[in-house]
Structures are given as structure tokens and as C-alpha cells.
Symmetry: D2
Subunit: 364 residues, 4 copies
């Protein structure tokens, strides 16, 4: 069980290494009848594409997705949707040196410890290219959710010490960092210039807000919606923390401040009066926006000298060369959104059987 499948009823299975023939995903359990075309998926992939700015790797892959199965006459058939992106721009020789030692902050050592050897070319399976399958799968999930009125707003909340102070939804796609605050984006650019100049790198925080989720999704005990979202997000490389709603700040809050009250909306519906909970109570969506944040570590590949060991058991000093983003955050924004979308699609399908009356609507 090499852990390459995520989800239970709506599930994605990804495959592929950085320098193999390609990377891909099989999406199983997508309901039949959903309109879907390559462009829906390509738009998602383009958001994680390298080479869009001087702050992301200059590897220039078009990363064109091909649909291999599961779509007929423009709609999903209910059978597995297989998507592939061929690798085009592999420079295997770039990576030949790293076969011999363990890069700090990377999975080189742990892959060797687990499997006895590894595909060392470009990080192999632990490369950032692994996320292409996630994003392609997430694009399909997002499309399904959109057809039921659920939408996403995901952006960079901070890069290094630079945090957003303003929020403009339009601004998100106006700057290279997907920040909803133009001023913060400008400061982030300055900060990254300094990082690059000092052969260093930066981390940051990604925030994802999900609108239109009906109350009642998520399962009470182990498959709580927040638990599943946490796993989804923490399974992305470089993530070191995740939080829902007020997150870690609840630890120093009080019950009186943290509890969200309820009131009756003019249309008669029950609604919370605030949203400290981030849209999830007892593991089940409460009808408010779902809010989650993830902490991304600084890019581990840096040109500065670092101490490590090689496979001959010698202690050495290395400096990582090659094309590396000084910050991963902007390209990871869409990956977080994709994983949240897959999680929510799965929860929605599972939730469709939570009441006998739901079954009777379909089968009687």
C-alpha cells in the first residue's frame, strides 16, 4: 500500500516520478453526467506551472494534460478518468551528483531508509511534480462541487515575515504570489530578492476559504471533515502545520470568545453569528465558510553550503545547484485547493447516504 490513493467514494490515485515518462492520476467514483473538458483541468494545472516568474523554477514544461478515459461526448461516464501529463524537460544529468548524498530537508535519506534505494533523478516520486496528479484530480472535484454551488478562494496569506493586511479577491490573480494584497505582494518580492541574494529561501502560509458548503458534510468520529482536510493538506510535500478556523489561537482564547452563537436569518434559516469554528462543528460542516490554513516550509534546495553525509558514510559540505523556486508557496496554492476539493467531493458523496430519506428520494 504505497499510499498513492486518496478518498473513499470519490478517489484519486496518482503515479509518476519527476524524470520518468510522465505523471498522472486516475479519478474513480466521479458521478456520471458531469460536463468536463481538458480546459477545465488545464486551467488548474496552469496555476501550478513553473516558469511563470523569476521566483519559480525556470524549467519550462508546457504540462499539457491529456484525458485518456472516462469522458464521452463531453460528459463524465462514471468510469475512471485517467489523466496524463508527459514529462518533457528532464535534464537527468543535472541530478546525477545528488545520487551520492542526502540533501538536507529532502526525502533522499528517508526513501533510502524505507526502500533500500531510490529514483534519485529530480527527487523521483517526492518531487514537486508529484502534485500534478493532485491538481488534475482536484480540478475534476472542483468542477463537480461547482455544479452543486460550492466554490473556493485560495491564496497566499504570508511569505516569510510578510503577511497580508488587506483583502482584495481580484488582486489574487494580479500578482505572481497569489496574494490578495498588492502591497504585501510587493514586499514579498523584495523579501525574496534578499533571500536569493543570500542563497537562501522562504516559507509561508496558504489560506483556503470554501463557500457554499451545505451543513451536514463530514462523518462524526475519525472521518471528521476537518480531520480529512488536515490529512489532505498535510500530505502535500513541505507542509508542516494545518489549522481550521481560529486554529492555534484558540489555545489562548476562552469559551466565551471562541463559541459561535446562532441566530435566525431573515429567510428563516439557522446561521452562526460568527465563524471562529471555520465552518466545522464536531467534524461536520455547519453551513458557514470553511476556512483552513497551511504552513509551508522554506524550499530546502538552497545554494548556500550545508553539511550532510554521502552514501559512502563521509561527512561532506554541499551546495544545491539547479533550478529551484526560492519559495514554494505560490505554486502550492492550487495544490491546497485541489486537495481540499477532493476531500470535499468525497465527503459530499459519502454524506449522500446519511439519511434514509435521501435514499428514498433516489430509489423510490
Amino acid at each position: 500500500m504505497a499510499g498513492s490513493t486518496f478518498g473513499t467514494v470519490f478517489r484519486i490515485t496518482t503515479w509518476g516520478e519527476s524524470h520518468g515518462k510522465g505523471v498522472g492520476v486516475v479519478i474513480d467514483g466521479c458521478p456520471a453526467g458531469l460536463p468536463l473538458k481538458s480546459l477545465d483541468i488545464q486551467e488548474f494545472l496552469d496555476r501550478r506551472k513553473p516558469g511563470q516568474s523569476r521566483y519559480s523554477t525556470q524549467r519550462s514544461e508546457p504540462d499539457r494534460v491529456e484525458i485518456l478515459s472516462g469522458i464521452f461526448e463531453g460528459r463524465t461516464t462514471g468510469t475512471p478518468i485517467s489523466l496524463i501529463v508527459f514529462n518533457k524537460d528532464q535534464h537527468s544529468k543535472d541530478y546525477s551528483e545528488i545520487a551520492s548524498y542526502y540533501r538536507p530537508g529532502h526525502a533522499d535519506y528517508t526513501f533510502d531508509a524505507k526502500y533500500g534505494f531510490r529514483d534519485y533523478r529530480g527527487g523521483g516520486r517526492s518531487s514537486g511534480r508529484e502534485t500534478i496528479g493532485r491538481v488534475a484530480g482536484g480540478a475534476v472535484a472542483a468542477r463537480l462541487l461547482a455544479s452543486l454551488g460550492i466554490s473556493f478562494c485560495t491564496y497566499t496569506r504570508s511569505i516569510g515575515p510578510v503577511e497580508i493586511r488587506d483583502f482584495s479577491r481580484e488582486e489574487i490573480f494580479n500578482n505572481k504570489f497569489y496574494m490578495p494584497d498588492r502591497d504585501a505582494a510587493r514586499k514579498a518580492a523584495e523579501y525574496l530578492e534578499n533571500c536569493m541574494a543570500s542563497r537562501n529561501s522562504a516559507g509561508g502560509v496558504i489560506e483556503c476559504v470554501i463557500h457554499g458548503v451545505p451543513a451536514g458534510l463530514g462523518e462524526p468520529v475519525f472521518d471528521k471533515l476537518d480531520a480529512s482536510l488536515s490529512k489532505a493538506v498535510m500530505s502535500i510535500g513541505a507542509m508542516k502545520g494545518v489549522e481550521i478556523g481560529d486554529g492555534f489561537s484558540v489555545a489562548s482564547s476562552t469559551g466565551l470568545d471562541d463559541n459561535d452563537g446562532f441566530h435566525i436569518r431573515p429567510d428563516g434559516k439557522v446561521e452562526k453569528t460568527s465563524n471562529h469554528a471555520g465552518g466545522i462543528l464536531g467534524g461536520i460542516s455547519d453551513g458557514s465558510d470553511i476556512i483552513l490554513r497551511a504552513a509551508v516550509k522554506p524550499t530546502p534546495s538552497i545554494a548556500s553550503e550545508q553539511k550532510t553525509v554521502n552514501k559512502s558514510g563521509e561527512e561532506i559540505t554541499v551546495s544545491i545547484k539547479g533550478r529551484h523556486d526560492p519559495v514554494i508557496v505560490p505554486r502550492a496554492v492550487v495544490v491546497v485547493e485541489a486537495m481540499a476539493a477532493v476531500t470535499l467531493a468525497d465527503a459530499l458523496l459519502i454524506g449522500s447516504t446519511s439519511r434514509l430519506e435521501y435514499l428514498q428520494k433516489i430509489w423510490k
Copy 2:
């Protein structure tokens, strides 16, 4: 799929409501031949027992575990281990009023939204008593891990604004808060007295350190060890955030500061020179201590007045009566440890098939 099963090869399935006949767990996939007796489990359960101090609910249940299956002549047989704790001290009338309205910060509203109705007595399935099954299952997992040299140290890192400044392993079991710092425990007690006096409640942070984990556990993509640990911990009621190693602070760190170098130990083994990663690289254990932290929200049941709505669609003001801990953190410490243990046991069993040479050791 009501989400009551956790784990793939080592898996637990829990059941039970606060005011039903009891709560329990079925542990499936525990290898045969592990010495196990009731006391091993009871010791874990006693750590989450109510009524141990004036800071936890005075409900006085002995919570004695009974082993119903899966043990023969003092050892596990490889077949499911069914454990039950009968409910003894239910005061159903205490809870009759809450049937009519939605308590702020609780799952009352979301259970109704999901299922159409709910067992309102004492929180039903979303009661804290649900964690008994987790802790009993975790005790078995911990026992299995101990037989392979893996141990846990879990404690309260903060309560409200009071954070530990010192670390004494012995002190953890010397105070009611499971804090490794006597002075912090004293200050936490003062803080909670104030909370109770103002009919309010507090949250906090729990930290779990796991020693002796061999390098190589965890699966590369979706079932990364940190992802699975995150789900495990976030599935516990009241958890709002989780982090591994340096966690959220990596967001403002740099690659140079965050990367852990490698060196060769005197015995020839590879080891990291620091542990910002918290023992996991690329989703796979690296041989260092695994470190995780979880943020616990303040107890939602408070005696102060709060605004909410009732099931007749009226806006009302309520004040929650009854026996409620002003802080959940101390009793949740063992729950975090239990969920981490189940996750690690599962990862270890799955990891036992990651190399052909492992299979050959067993089958040839």
C-alpha cells in the same frame, strides 16, 4: 460509512454514545503473540478518567474495561480484540433541556443537519466519552510499539496563556495538568480558577514526542506519516490545529535555518544534526524523535449566558449547566497519545512490506 474505523492494517472501530449502554472498540489486525492484559489498557483509560481534580467533570465513573475477545492465555491471537466500558453514571434528566436547542460550540446543530435528528443525551456520539474507544485501542497499539522499542512522551504544553518554560519528564505525572513544569502547572491552576469564577473556560496545546521510531515508516504521497498523524489528531473533538516539528513557525523561517543537516554517529549510523523537521522528511520517519503539537479549543460548555436558537426557530439565551471541565486539555493528553500510537502501529505494519527483502526474511 459513518467514519468509525481508523487505520488500514492495524485498525480500530469504535462505537457508543454518552448515555447508551456503553462505549467500546474493536481492534483488528493486531499481530498474534503480543502479551496483553486488562491492566495495560486500564492504565491508559485511567489517564483520561473524569473526577480526578476540581478541573475535570465530577461525573464519577470507574470506566473499567472488559476484554471480550482476541486474547488467549495472556497473548493476542491475531483475531479482533473487542473492548467494552459500560456506562454507569448517566443522568439522562440533566440533559433533557438541551434537546430543544443548539449549544454554541457543540455538534448539536450539525448532527441535526446531517442526520435529521440526534441522540441529544449528553452529546450522544459527539460526547467526550467517545474517546474511551480511542484510548483503549491506543493502549493496545502502544503496547505493540513498546515491544519494538517505540515509546511516547505526551504532555500539556500550555493552558490558556500559560506555557511551559521548563521540562521535567518526572513532573508530568506529578500535577493534574500533565505539565512537565511545576511552576507552569501552578499558574495554570490560578488561571483556571479565574475562568471558573467568570463562568468561562480555557484551551491549550498538547505536545507528543515519540522516541525510537526507526527510519522508513510512512508512505510517500497521500499516506505520509505526518498526514496520517494529522488526521488522527484532528479527528479528536475540539482540536483546531496540528503541527509537526517546527510547525507554523517554519513559515517565517528560512531554508538555511530550517534544514536539518546530517552527520555520522560514532556507531556509524546516519543521523540528523538538528530536528526542525520533527522526525519526518518527505512523509517518512527519519529516525529522530517525532514531535507533534495540537491546539485544543476552550470547553464549549460554559455557565455564562450565550445567544442561540431553539428547534422551534426562536432566538434564545442559554447558560449551560451540569458537570463540565473548565479545560479539556489534561484529559485529552492521553487521547492524542492513543491516536498517535494507532497511526504509528498501522504505519509500522504497512512498512513491513515495503521491501522484497523483508518478505524474504519471513517467507523464505
Copy 3:
């Protein structure tokens, strides 16, 4: 993964040994709002009860089921339903001898080979009592299916060489063998008298017919409805073969004879003109009755002398004493029905998400 869970969305987890404290089942994923009481389950259990005739073991256990969780005010809540039957009539000393040797036709040897040792008392986990959890779980599934118009007719088709030649639904519950043919039942009784006189035992065939299954259940490739039903039935102890519709006889049939045509019913619906397929085409229900048959081996515990070996590595001759049914078939009838019901309930829940329009009926 000791294999004690069956089903994906509607799932049962069983536990318990013949001579432990009891046996039980946790049913997870049953939709909320289904009326359910102990009697619904007890009626199923009573159909597998021992001691009902001289052709079944005289062990006189009342086998009363207790509902421990998941039901509130007479309806399922959507949370796990835990059911237990305590063991009452264990004669552990009866079984002390068999600890030392391997009974032919039993799992004694294979349990030792797998686990290194076994709970030898009464067969432990491989005892027929293990089926109590299946039947209790199946009773809940059958109840759910009944509320959607799906019903079962399960009976003994043959015992030893005696096969039914007539079919009367009323007769099924009129004789001890659950045969729909009074004359065959009489002949079966004679045949079994001979078996017992010669210290021997008999096998037989069970047939299960399921009415009212809507077309469209089952998943196309690996989770075909017939595949899942086959696993469900073959997982019952003593089953050696399973077939759907015309089953093994198709091997010598022709396409012209085996294909079922289609016509239009007076009410305008499409219907098959025959049912060689047994209600399943391409792994998906076709709206006709689902028909399956299972072959049950003769009771392995016989009083005749047999050659075997003991744990000291000696070849010995044994004669199995104690209370044993000369034929398992009649008591297994309800077990087959129970497993078919669980399988169908799971397929129905999974099938509820196969079309986008189904989701839109629920969520829009």
C-alpha cells in the same frame, strides 16, 4: 488487517470466539432514520439458533441480542450500531483434548500455521458462532433494504443427494431444513438419519433469490455485484462454491440459449424475457430477481475414525466427540441471506452517488 470488516459504505465489523465472553458486530454506515428494534434482529438470529431439531447441535443457547448503541427513540441515528450476544453455554472442558491435534476439515492447522498458536476452545474464531455477527448485521441490512422494497427468499436447495423438485414458499418455514418442498424435506431427514447412524455427515446447496432490486446496482469492474456477492457468500465457513443465475451450467450452454432477450412491459418498462443471467449483467443488477447458489461442505466434525497428526508430530487416529450438526446447511441458510443483504445494502448506498442528478436531488 485480520479481515473482520465487510463492506465499504455500509460495513460490518464482527468479533468474538466460541468460548470467549460473547460475539458481536458493529454496523457502521447505516443511514439515519430507519425504524429498528431488537426483535428485528432476534428474528434473524433465531433462524440460525442451535437446538431446534435433532439435526442441529443440542447446545442450548438462547442467543439473545443486545443493542448497545446507534438506536435512539426506535430509529437508527446514523452512528455505529453495536450488537452483542453473550456466550452462555460454553463447556470448555469438552474441547480440551482437541488442543493437542489438528481436526481434519477444520482450521486448527491453518490457524497455527498463520498465528503460531490458537484459541482451541470450540474452534475459537473459526467456530460457527462467528456467524452470529454476520446474521445480526444482515438483519439490519435486510431491514434497510425492505424499507426500499427489496426482499429475500432463501432456502435449502439440496441436502446430500436429495434435491428439491417442487417449490412452495410457505413450506420453507414449515420444516427443519428450510426446504421449499415437503417431500424433499422428508427424504433429507431419512438421509441424515443414515449419516448419523454411520457416524458421518452431509453437505448441500443453499439458494437465495432477491426480489425488487432496482436495475443499476453494482460497480462495473472489480466491485461487480456478482463478484461482491460471491465474496460475501464464500467468506462463510464451509462454502466451497458459488454461482449466479445458471451458474456452472452456462459452461456447456450456447449463446443462443444463455442470452436473455429484452421486451417492453405493458407499463412501458424494459424487462428481460428470461433470467439465465440471475439478475446481473456486466456486474450490474438488471431489475430481474437476483439468484445465487452456494455449495456447503459436509460437517467436518464426525464421530468416525480419521487419521491426523498431533502437535508433537505424531500420526494418530481420532474420532470427534461432542455436539455437532450432521449437516450445516439449514442453519447456514440465514447466514447466506444475511451476507447477501449486507452486500446489497452496500451496493445500494454506493450506487446512490453514481449520477450527478442523484446528488442534485439531495443537495439542491
Copy 4:
């Protein structure tokens, strides 16, 4: 959950339609370090290739497999192995007519009932080409098992009324039917000539014998080895029955005849004295050969006239044109073997954690 994944620890996920871009499989959980090359897989695929005789479809596809991931320097890396076979010889216009009606014996009607519409080109997902993914996955499983001493012998036991009477292992690959009896193969050819002349088709029985399986594989209750094998085999299109060992004939046997005794081999090992059980006792392998048989229905596509209905609700008479095998059995032989191999590989990996001492061999 469109049911396209099989297995738990060693798992395959297949995708693809008859007339899409290709078909493929993702194999997840294969241990690292297994030598594997394209040819290992191609040899399996060649056994199911069409166009090898006048008794199989003349569609002339080379069906060359490409390895897209998971292999590095000639060995498996432990990460997912993605395999693809591109479709080359699709004649979409051949199939345009069948879009309008439901072919008897096919899944056209049930796909429409389930999904609301279907990819009607060449059977879409329910085409025989779907088995390419199974066979490619099974080739990897068989390779893994071979490295642990487990091998397969699978062949045609009967075609229509012609059953084998002799057994020569060498003969299996000497005739187009994979029959171990030259004389039976000759008679089968005659029988099929008659079938074709009368625009009809034939079924048959496939037998699979597995050598070298260690005692102790399979899980006691729901995941019995025979249950999992049954599901695996029954999930192949056109299978209507499956049996283990003496199978359906046990129903009329007696305990004395059906029980297998035990003796001590010269080398001191315990062994059964006969093998009525077909190598599995209580759901766990017993060290003897595993023997299973599957009943294959006659090819449903026949040129004779049949009654059916079209999508306009009219009753019509059809005659299926195009390239169709008069018998599926010979090409399904390798599919049965493949599915058995995947099942066994999964059971072996799961069984590697059944004893604490196995874990200690690896981790201590």
C-alpha cells in the same frame, strides 16, 4: 467509488475503454527491489492477445505495454507502477448501430440504468479490453510471487461439452485453447466450428492451480483466501460461477469422503493426505496446491437473430455483426491467473504482519 481498484496492500487500479485512447493500470504497494522489465508483462499480455487463431477476434492490435513509472534501474522502487497499452485498431463506425439498442447478454442496458448513458463504442468500459489492465497488474504480482517460490498453472478445463480427460502440462501451450489434453483440444475445435456455422457461441470452464503457497495466507473471517479469490475471479466479465477444491460436488459428498487427513512427511513437515479442500482450510492456505475453477458463459455477441428493445422503446430483432470470439475461454485463462496472482500477492503482504515475531525479524 466506481470499483476500479482491487486489493488492499498490493492493489491495482485499472482504467480505460475499448475505443478511448488506451487502457492501463496503476499497481500500488509492490515492494521495492523486485527485478521487472517490460517483457515480463508483455508475455502475460500476449497470452490474452486477439487474432491468434480463427477462434478469437481478428482485431489485430499489437497491445504493447509501456512502463510509465515505478521502475528504476531494472527494479521496482516501491512507488506506483503505471502501465499503459494504447488502443490502435478502433473501428468506431463498426459500433455506431449498437448505440441505439440493448444487446442481449451484454451490459448495455445496465450501464444505461446505472449511469443514464454510456460509451457505447465497443462496449466501452465493459469491453473485454478492460482485462488488459488486470493482466498487466497480474504479471507484476506473479513476478513477485515467483521470487518467493509461488507459481501458477492455468488452463482450459472444458469448452462447451468437451472436457479434458488427460493432463499434460506441456500441451497447454501447444494448442490455441490452452487445454492440457491434445485430444480434447481437437474436439473443442470441431465443436466451435459447428457453433460458428450455426451463428452461435460456446462457454467453458477454466482451472487454476497454484503451487508453493506457504500455509498461513488469508484472513479468518471476511477476507478468507477463497472468498477473495472468488471475488477476484467473479469480477471478470462473463464469469457465472467459481469453486475451490472439490467445489459444488461437496454438496453431495460426506464428511468421511470430503475431509482431508494429515500425516508427517519424511522431512518432518505436516501435510494433508488428500486435497479435497483445494489448499484452503478455514479461509487460510494449508500448504497444498490451491485449486480453483471458474465457469465462463458463452460469448453473448452472436450473429443469430435475437429479440431485444431499442432506446425508443420498440421491440426489435437484431443480429450482432463484427469481430467476435465464438468462445472467450482461451483468452480468459490468463485473466483468471492474473486475478489469482493479485489476490495472492495481497494476501501474502497482509499475512506478513500476522505475527509479532515476523515484525521483530524486520524491525529489531
